[in-house]
């Protein structure tokens, strides 16, 4: 599958094109160039490891925002069977920026909820670029409470730049919707597993990510805001986003160190978009393992551990 290339991948792509040309040339002309080709291929391997093994936070952000990166809808197709989508928050409307429903995961019914961005401009507009409104968070909460009623585990997928800021969102209580989710989710007595698959931005991400176990894809990011907003708030200059990304500690490894997430899911070299099937397989295995261990916990123990997980985050000096 031809991938849309990110800037830092271009030297590698050029080298690979050169190799392909050389192979074709040697075949067409019947000249033996195998030594040269081998040397270049070795060089390409080194370059590949060099580029993808040392990704800067900003480069990871560009991977996390890659238009071909698998999103919630793709993972639903690859990891779940018989997904039935449920719509609406029963108060105002249905938010296409958050999808939710019931499906089978390794044969067991679960509730699946996740942010959805678009794959192209048309879908992006329809999905509001993954920026949810209050009705999106309220739909998510409704489905979680329904899952609790029927004893179904909840699996959420986080992929949003943030909660939407607009007149309607304020009028319908964006802050109240998020706060309600944070409060209620701490008491949902079925296992809740959240996976940050792309961008995890601000309260809009957290509003579906108060879980017992938090997974994060290797190239996903999770932060207080997008680096653009961060730069705009602190330095009044959103063009300093790359500088912001460098200090925000938003990569999976940073967040594991800060004990905000529990597990990093390795991605295919270059990112999940290079091989979505492989990415899904790896994620699926970890999800299954996490779910099996959480199901063994009695509800009160589950809630106690979930509370402690968030209760213990914070760094301060006493006295």
């Amino acid at each position: 599958m031809p991938n849309m290339l990110l800037d830092f991948e271009k030297p590698l792509a050029e080298l690979e094109t050169k190799i392909d040309e050389l192979i074709k040339f040697s075949k067409d002309k019947g000249i033996d160039l195998s030594e040269e080709i081998k040397t270049l291929q070795a060089k390409a391997e080194t370059l590949k490891r060099d580029i993808y093994g040392n990704l800067s936070p900003w480069q990871r952000i560009t991977i996390a925002r890659h238009p071909e990166r698998p999103g919630t809808v793709d993972y639903i197709k690859m990891l779940f069977e018989g997904f039935m989508e449920m719509h609406g928050d029963r108060h105002f409307g249905d938010d296409p920026a958050i999808i939710g429903g019931i499906a089978k995961f390794y044969g067991e019914p679960v509730t699946v909820i996740g942010h959805v961005k678009g794959k192209d401009t048309k879908e992006n507009i329809a999905r509001n670029f993954g920026y949810a409104h209050p009705e999106g968070y309220r739909k998510a909460l409704r489905l979680m409470e329904q899952a609790e009623k029927f004893g179904r585990p909840v699996l959420t997928f986080v992929d949003t730049p943030g909660a939407y800021c607009g007149i309607g969102a304020e009028e319908r209580g964006q802050a109240w919707a998020i706060a309600e989710n944070l409060t209620r989710m701490s008491k949902i007595h079925v296992p809740v597993i959240a996976t940050v698959i792309g961008e995890g931005g601000s309260g809009g991400a957290l509003a579906i990510a108060v879980g017992d176990y938090i997974l994060m894809l290797e190239n996903a990011v999770y932060a207080i805001s997008t680096p653009e907003t961060f730069a705009s708030i602190l330095w009044k200059d959103s063009s300093k986003a790359q500088d912001a990304a460098a200090i925000m500690k938003m990569t999976a490894r940073d967040l594991e160190e800060l004990q905000v997430i529990d597990e990093i899911i390795p991605e295919p070299l270059g990112g999940a978009q290079k091989n979505p099937q492989e990415a899904a397989r790896t994620l699926g295995k970890s999800l299954q393992k996490a779910l099996n261990s959480l199901k063994k916990l009695p509800p009160e123990k589950l809630l106690e551990k979930r509370y402690e997980k968030f209760r213990s985050i914070g760094q301060f000096i006493s006295g």
């Binding site: 909660a163 800021c165 607009g166 007149i167 969102a169 304020e170 009028e171 319908r172 209580g173 964006q174 802050a175 109240w176 998020i178 706060a179 309600e180 944070l182 409060t183 209620r184 701490s186 008491k187 601000s202 309260g203 957290l206 108060v210 999770y222 932060a223 207080i224 805001s225 907003t229 961060f230 708030i233 602190l234 200090i247 925000m248 500690k249 938003m250 967040l255 800060l258 905000v260 979930r306 509370y307 968030f310 209760r311 985050i313 914070g314 760094q315 301060f316 000096i317 006493s318 006295g319």
Partner: protein
């Protein structure tokens, strides 16, 4: 001498008489909405509200506590809790040190036990003068400890919010304080205890989107700016001007997000009445 012509003349600096009329600082303040000149002593009497247009000036945490709780009843908790630097953010320790020096508090909230009209409460008051009243680890931890203290003592909780939102310099750790405080509030709810949230100017961002909006009873001061996203960001996003009165306490009352908008002069008596209504009665099978 001729060369004296080229010598730079020497001037003597004579200090102007320092008989500048000595106006003590802060003797008067100008009302930002109606421009009325208000004498500080008068302002104290009106609890820092403009006697012409009713504008409510922002208050420090200490001032707020003084006008809210019974005299001598306040017992401060966790006063020494101070910020660390989880992201290793350059300048952050410096910014905190300066704010501590300017405000004489260690971070953007003061919490403690107190009584209001004889009713024991746990009270938390945010201070917008401290790094915009933003919530980082210390605010999150102190709010959580206040909630836990209320549960331990089985008394109502009152929190006055004033905040620009999350403390950006603490990054994701700030974000997680939202889940932490809300988790603690869920426990308070289970314990059947009253939580009154008082939204004061300004309450926005991650504080509105967590503990500040979860009160059993939500009060707001007149004209207070309350919302999720700041108006400048919304205007940039939607590329249009926001209507007058957007995100004010009155706007929220109209949209069903606060129970009452209460002028500062009546706030204490309103709290007293609410506490009184929740101090007796209630049956097991209600």
């Amino acid at each position: 001498m001729l060369k004296d012509l080229f010598r730079k003349p020497k001037y003597v600096t004579v200090h102007a008489d320092t008989v500048k009329k000595d106006i003590p600082e802060g003797l008067w303040q100008k009302c930002p909405t109606c421009n009325e000149i208000l004498y500080s002593k008068e302002l104290e009497k009106t609890l820092k509200t403009c006697n012409k247009c009713g504008y409510h000036f922002r208050m420090s945490a200490r001032e707020r506590i003084n006008i809210t709780v019974d005299e001598g009843s306040f017992l401060e908790l966790e006063a020494d809790l101070a910020s660390a630097n989880p992201l290793g953010f350059v300048d952050y320790p410096d910014k905190i040190a300066k704010a501590q020096e300017a405000t004489h508090i260690k971070d953007a909230i003061v919490i403690g036990e107190a009584a209001i009209g004889g009713n024991p409460v746990v009270i938390g008051v945010m201070d917008a003068n401290f790094v915009m009243g933003s919530m980082g680890s210390v605010v999150g931890e102190k709010v959580t400890r206040a909630i836990e203290k209320a549960i331990e003592k089985r008394v109502p909780l009152i929190i006055f919010s004033a905040s620009g939102g999350a403390r950006m310099q603490e990054g994701i750790v700030s974000l997680m304080q939202m889940a932490k405080t809300c988790g603690a509030l869920a426990k308070l709810n289970e314990a059947g205890l009253l939580y009154i949230t008082v939204l004061t100017d300004p309450t926005t961002g991650g504080v509105t989107a967590s503990f500040a909006s979860m009160g059993d009873v939500a009060l707001a001061e007149p004209g207070a700016l309350i919302g999720f996203t700041g108006s400048r960001v919304i205007e940039q996003t939607i590329k249009q001007k926001l209507p007058d009165g957007f995100q004010t306490a009155e706007f929220l009352l109209n949209h069903g997000f606060v129970d009452m908008v209460i002028p500062r002069q009546q706030l204490r008596s309103t709290l007293e009445a609410l506490l009184e209504l929740h101090s007796t009665g209630g049956t097991e099978n209600a």
